[in-house]
Symmetry: D2
Subunit: 147 residues, 4 copies
């Protein structure tokens, strides 16, 4: 993963990983970070039957959970040390049923602003049949100063 963005300080990977590991819901859904670079992140999780809607697909809200974290951490990877990241809003389009063995969300920053950042994310499903695009998200993130 190449990137046009420069992180604000060298240790951005450790900071993203620390915050991610503090998201208890990521453990609940079995999600893990698979790649990080400045302004980009990949998060994967397996199919779990306790996360499904009425047809046995992964619920759109769980898809949103992973893509929101993907947008948030893509943006956070470019933020300075003294801020935390907050999701203001996001919009998701559901393009095909979330069926498959495992799912990977790809988040990347579209605009890294001082206060407001915009990130995009896509979720792909992987199975014996190959790879398919499940959903796309656009999210607006805010850098919140500490203290």
């Amino acid at each position: 993963m190449k990137s046009k963005f420069e992180p604000k300080y060298p240790d951005y990977v450790a900071r993203v990983e620390k915050s991610f590991s503090d998201q208890a819901v990521m453990k609940t859904i079995g999600a893990s970070i698979e790649a990080i670079s400045p302004g980009k992140i990949e998060i994967e999780f397996p199919y779990q039957s306790n996360l499904t809607q009425q047809n046995g697909f992964i619920h759109a809200g769980i898809v949103s959970t992973v893509l929101d974290s993907a947008c948030g951490y893509a943006a956070f990877s470019l933020m300075p040390l003294d801020v935390s990241v907050l999701t203001i809003e996001f919009k998701i389009n559901l393009l095909s049923p979330a069926t498959g063995d495992r799912f990977r969300g790809y988040g990347k920053v579209k605009k890294a602003g001082r206060t407001i950042s915009v990130a995009e994310a896509e979720l792909y499903a992987f199975s014996d049949q190959g790879k398919k695009l499940v959903a796309t998200m656009v999210g607006t993130l805010m850098a919140v100063s500490h203290g």
Copy 2:
């Protein structure tokens, strides 16, 4: 809950409850239907520490899970017997941190179309300090014919 909408057939409540009980993720997050009327639904769930983000708030994706089901079932309650409901897209605004003892999502139909419906939902948090608005959603739902 009054309603300007008429259900397409008398047994809409049972149909919504059946589909809701088939959503395994609703059990996982401890959600239950608290009220149904034509074009409206209320879904409640308790705070659970395994559904949180890095600050101990309920993750925005879990908030989305409940509000998406609220939009979907509000729309489904007005649909004819031979269709199922599918979320095409939604957008959520996160207005305050999802802290509290329990949360209730209120879904209602804005437009009930033959193919496309639009629904809105709000999540309120309840605690000793009272009630606060956490998030608002707008969702687009599609009636999908069987067979």
Copy 3:
């Protein structure tokens, strides 16, 4: 129009009207403010055949123009003197064709934050056949400090 919101200073109406009159596009589409109260605004414009899409309906982008201004000025009416208002993003659902003699957009604030506000707006069409809901918008606005 009652309101739960308090303006930050008495002259908010004049400030909103001044900014609105500086929006040249409002003259181009013939739009005018019909009502203002704290956190709320109504903007009206007539049908114009030079603003239409291929079926003779008002183009969704022109509907967005009025509703974006409605969201923005609803939010601006509650902002302090030393800031200006900026739209970060909005989402619009188009519920019925924009046909009619005249159209009125109703904007209202959902959350008035120090930096980020969220507003909602609806457009109604008026004709001999009565009134119909054409579109709904949710917008996120930012207060930008001067200097």
Copy 4:
């Protein structure tokens, strides 16, 4: 512009151009099609002082007008002969002020479904200072059968 999509019939360009020329608002804002390929379109318009908001930037609604047509015609280029295209909803993020000499919207299809298509569009501003990204849109389009 390469494309992974196949048009449903050879004359899609003429059909898109015909519908575009029926959008009176495109003449009003001086917009023209600059490129079409299956699932993709480019629409350009010049800066006009009668389309501005209070700071002299092109109003976000006018940006939306062009990007909505870009999403719509990108989707329409892949639709069969016996349908027309309808925007159900869109969401736009405004990344930088719409200043410049001319603006070009790039629309492309993300998913071409039988009933529902999803398209994305970006608006770039061009001036002596070069090119900048002004806004991004995601839109949901519906194929509506005639008769």
